[in-house]
Chain length 423, copies 2
């Protein structure tokens, strides 16, 4: 056990370990099924799904073909699997066409064939195919109304699945009698396979009646075509136990929790006690920062909830209510708020990054802070309080030279935060 003599390097090593634990090249091969007697068709959607497809290609012993839809800028070159880029978070025609082709591709397979589905965060918007008789506009209108209404994510998912031709297990049902093995990366609280990308290959316990009840609860009465579809449709999503899904399985190959555990291993090897506070922390970034700053101060002042050296690890996705005109994602904003709260407090260092390598709309994955941040900002003439009020965390950390830049990591298990308290 050695002391954390270079806190910034140690924090960066923890983040790198978190990303590596979710790297497709590492976690896809370990979970590949045996090749089938028949054909293998690879399909999927999500921000990490192209990189997952490349990992399949590199390690798959037999023939394969397929189609993957990923976000613009997230394609990687594949030889046998076609990669299509499409719109996210707002679906577009590219995504719809890819979803239609994916559905056609799995229809007509036989019992000896295998569908390998590669699903990751963002797949719900990327793999969009309205049910017969509905338009993309209908689906989007319902979606917007639900988001405004305060409905929970599981309520929104229930409605989405019943307006779609691929979500809620419909893709797997279309593939029957072929067996479907799904490899999934989670970026959602609870890591529920039925939630990630709205579960295109996973049984759905909810019904058309449930979807109608949700729209009624939130007084959503338009568009008429969508309501009429929910009332008249009879082709339910496949339920748990549905014979069309027999023999299928879904494997969670990367999760926020597994990445936090990997970072915890790095901490322990450096003689630092890891405390994993949550794999799905949510809330306004600048307010969450105050809570974490207070916990770090408690370690300094009272050796609680554990004695230093300690690292507080957490995942999940904070939000930023934009009020200013500056630049910066939620991770940089979190750190800027922490730096303002701590005002140079000794012994407290932190890193916060998006594991996908892109914090918001900028070029950085995140940033770091340390006990010298406040003083260095004063020397540089940067008013951190004013920058925070202007949501200009990227600007502040750019001048300070404290941005963490990795480029797209081609994986995504949401945000990673580590707060190191040295002794």
């Amino acid at each position: 056990m050695r002391k954390p003599e270079h806190p910034r390097a140690l924090l960066r090593a923890m983040f790198d370990a978190a990303v590596a634990a979710a790297a497709p090249d590492l976690c896809v091969p370990a979970h590949l099924p045996s090749p089938p007697r028949g054909r293998t068709v690879v399909v999927g959607a999500g921000k990490a799904s192209a990189a997952m497809a490349r990992a399949v290609e590199r390690h798959w012993p037999g023939e394969l073909s397929g189609l993957i839809v990923t976000r613009y800028g997230h394609a990687v070159p594949c030889e046998r699997i076609e990669i299509v880029e499409a719109g996210h978070p707002v679906p577009d025609e590219n995504g719809m066409n890819a979803a239609r082709r994916i559905r056609q591709m799995v229809e007509g397979l036989g019992p000896d064939d295998l569908v390998l589905a590669l699903i990751s965060g963002g797949g719900s918007a990327l793999l969009t195919l309205p049910a017969d008789g509905l338009t993309l506009g209908d689906k989007q209108a319902v979606n917007r109304a639900l988001l405004r209404s305060g409905a929970t994510i599981s309520e929104i998912n229930c409605v989405r699945k019943h307006l779609s031709a691929v979500k809620g297990g419909r893709l797997a049902a279309a593939a029957a009698p072929a067996r479907v093995v799904t490899l999934m990366m989670s970026d959602v609280p609870g890591d529920d396979p039925a939630v990630i990308a709205s579960g295109p290959t996973v049984a759905d316990p909810t019904s058309f009646a449930d979807a109608l009840a949700i729209l009624k609860k939130y007084r959503i009465r338009e568009p008429e075509a969508a309501i009429a579809h929910l009332r008249a449709a009879t082709d339910e999503t496949p339920k748990p136990g549905d014979s069309r899904l027999t023999g299928n399985r879904a494997v969670m190959i990367a999760t926020p929790q597994a990445s936090l555990e990997a970072a915890a291993d790095v901490a322990r090897a450096a003689g630092v006690t890891p405390l994993i506070l949550g794999d799905s922390i949510e809330g306004e970034a600048s307010e969450v920062a105050k809570v974490f700053a207070a916990i770090a101060r408690q370690v300094v002042a009272h050796g609680q909830p554990a004695s230093a050296p300690v690292v507080l690890l957490s995942g999940g996705e904070t939000t930023v209510t934009v009020r200013g005109k500056g630049r910066g994602g939620r991770n940089a904003e979190f750190l800027l708020a922490m730096a303002v709260d701590l005002r140079g407090a000794a012994r407290i260092h932190a890193i916060a990054c998006d594991t996908d390598g892109i914090d918001g709309m900028e070029d950085n994955a995140g940033a770091t802070i340390d006990p010298g941040t406040w003083a260095r900002a004063e020397v540089a003439g940067i008013d951190l309080v004013a920058r925070l009020a202007d949501n200009d965390a990227w600007g502040a950390f750019s001048v300070l030279g404290d941005l963490v830049i990795t480029g797209p990591t081609l994986t995504n298990v949401n945000d990673f935060r580590a707060i190191l308290v040295t002794d």
Copy 2:
């Protein structure tokens, strides 16, 4: 070790232990100094100071006299010490007159006399005496401008002390050559004696030049009388090492941390692992609630940062940005936001109360939630999401029968929150 079979009773026992640890009748007698050869004069200010005075009267072996200023409604009957009630958080004439009389009372004492100062939260507003040539209006104008400017509490305190005739150690300097022993209750982060009630009996390291620099930094140029006073005055606050303060001492008899430790003892005796996350958690109540809900869920899902049964303990003072028209203090709002976030999650119970017994402007100290809160609200026809949007936590918990009502406890070590995760 027994299991927490009655979570609500256990949570209430923890809160009661936290309050008891700060009860003047318990913690004043243990810290009383030996009686002096000469007179004993008891002075002080704060929400708990009248109750502290009563505890002194009950246990003091010799003669004494004195004057205490407390908040309206916080007086308790004393026989030898006069109790005056005054305005808080906005100072008034009653407070000013009491401060002037207190200062006169300690002037002219001799080296064999003792001043026993009883200081608790709220004392800064209650013990207000502008420096010669200034009005209460001048002080208040500067104070308002500083609060609007984003100045830190230590910057605000520096300016306050240099516009006052009693703060920043001036009361102790006026008492010299009498010895001053100060018994303090803390309701501030860091428990700094120079911060609580702006430290009337404690040396002040800051100067008139510092105060002027702070006003310049925040571009505060009015009122003219206050600026002129800071430029022209020569009677500095007593600095550390000032001979007038030799032999004085300040004892912290109650702190948020000590109250959390008392609650932790109750938890341990019940076989529950206590994790003290912070004695000074700040931030918007509803956002802090999301973070704590996520940590509680991590205990349930992964046994981290510790295995259940666990109780997450914290102190400090959250804030509520009022947007609705409902009723309720910050502790009830915190719990309502937690209940909305948890939506009936199993195994998670919580209590949040102000240790002074009054949550905001209502009649309750706080409230409790449990896994049944969400379902009971549905049965009762209470929409918890709508109540939260309307800041109507008191209304919601009142209908649910889950308010915690204690009446004024006559002590104050800020808020108390305990989140119990059963196994």
